[in-house]
Subunit: 336 residues, 2 copies
Amino acid sequence: MGDRFYMQLALDEAWKYQLLTYPNPAVGAVVVKDGAILSIEAHQKAGTSHAEVLALLSAYETLSQTTIDFDRFDAQKAHEFLRQLPNDFFSSCSIYVTLEPCAHRGKTPSCAMLLQYLRLKAVIVGMKDPIAGHGGGVEIIRSGSNVPIVKTGVLEDACKALLEPFLLWQERAFVLFKLAQTTNGRIGGGYLSSKESLRHVHRLRSVCDRLLIGGNTVRVDRPTLDCRFVGALPPNVTIYSKSETFDSEIPLFGIEGREVTITQKLDFLDKPSFILVEGGEGMLNALQGHIDWLLIYQTPKLSSNELSYNIDMNLTFLHQRNIGVDLMIWSRQLGN
Amino acid sequence: MGDRFYMQLALDEAWKYQLLTYPNPAVGAVVVKDGAILSIEAHQKAGTSHAEVLALLSAYETLSQTTIDFDRFDAQKAHEFLRQLPNDFFSSCSIYVTLEPCAHRGKTPSCAMLLQYLRLKAVIVGMKDPIAGHGGGVEIIRSGSNVPIVKTGVLEDACKALLEPFLLWQERAFVLFKLAQTTNGRIGGGYLSSKESLRHVHRLRSVCDRLLIGGNTVRVDRPTLDCRFVGALPPNVTIYSKSETFDSEIPLFGIEGREVTITQKLDFLDKPSFILVEGGEGMLNALQGHIDWLLIYQTPKLSSNELSYNIDMNLTFLHQRNIGVDLMIWSRQLGN
């Protein structure tokens, strides 16, 4: 199999954690030895081990037939562990990473410096880090005493699509509109989605800066908008509404430690952030000019009862996968 | 990577040719050596080489760094070629096949006997052949002088879903309803789909026994219903209609070598066959009790102009993949 095959595996793994790594980018990594896949991993949460590190730890376990006995998500410990291995341990391994390994020490040590030390056979990078001052990882790897084969630009367009939210939220709000629908595009029927889809929504809520929701949805659905399925803190909520009058008994107002704002101004979208929008036809139309991506949880049914929604919007499909019995479809709004 | 990983690759490859192998089953195969994937292949067309044979030929090419110079889809030649190799050529290889290799000589020689001769390290089978009189492949492989590891039942449920049409069309018509829609479930806007989706529809038309279409669609859309995008012969057409009166200038009537039937009786569905249904809301409702699978070509747009369709139907998603810019979603009707 060629480079593209392994990079696609890294991409698919990274998509499982898309946005959940906020404010970090989604990144996937695969370690291969003589054509055999030793590990497929992805960065899962900001502040924890990067994809390359998790993939190397998992490859170590495969090669040594042992299990590491420390928290693999503790980046400091993970780097220390990998650095005490003989530096030819991975010398017949190649690593595929969707994004150039980080050059500089942030919350975690530099992955590029680790890869320079470990002297792999090859480092294949999907795309160079496009953020000014962030790059240089490839140069560090190339500056070692035993330079691996370094290749960049494998499935570059797909790697760019994966990274897109990260680039947008550097500049302004990245706006994700979430929709749960039947396969014939009906919405609004309450709990349409599988438990797995609902858990995923709660994970997104737990990492976003702000949950934006329409006033009508609040009045009609009387939602709670917490993250109880994943045991996380509830997001701050902004209700997009002309009127500031709401029944204070609506559950979302009763959640402790949450800030609720009611506004008709969207200027907060100018601020670098991750905004999750939930709503129906009204919000979709009101926010159309601001929506970057649409995330659809599509349920395996056709319905004649629930509401259809009207809007014209061109999309690009970016990624899809099964989640419980549902289909999860990530798409980009075109021309926005 | 474990058995399930390789079997999934075989499954994904087989789905690319789902129904196109009619009247044969869709089957995928993967050859692996020391964890490295040598080939991923699928049966493509009835009467040509089976998945196992194509995967072994492709693995031979990878291992020998040569290219075979005969038609690999010619099963007779392919078997002869593989049988003249030293019978330890694949001795460190494992093969993953979604369906038990065929025991008996049909239009092509027996794959089980070939695998018995070739003495692979392991033969991993997704599911045993459930058709009475068809099985026995695994027993043949086990009866050789140098028996490989044989394992069955890997991702068995997924392998069963892949095989489902084949089992149904042994007994009666397998009915596939094809629908092209926007992502918000709008239909009927003429050429909704990508060129790649249209080509796929034409390939399905070229292998089905009969294309079933509603009288209204014929009157309103005035379709041609040929296979011009893939250069194949046009399917016979059955128009489901009370009235037998149609404008004879409608292009579908002008296609040479085609049989057109107009009927309101569906008793032809009792006959073992593959029936492709094209139509909109009316046909979906009229045929609901007969539809086995729904194939949706979902385009990357939301539309407020095109028609929504009303029906209640529970589905199971079976497989999805990108086709051009569209998403292709295979699903089973539940409770039918």
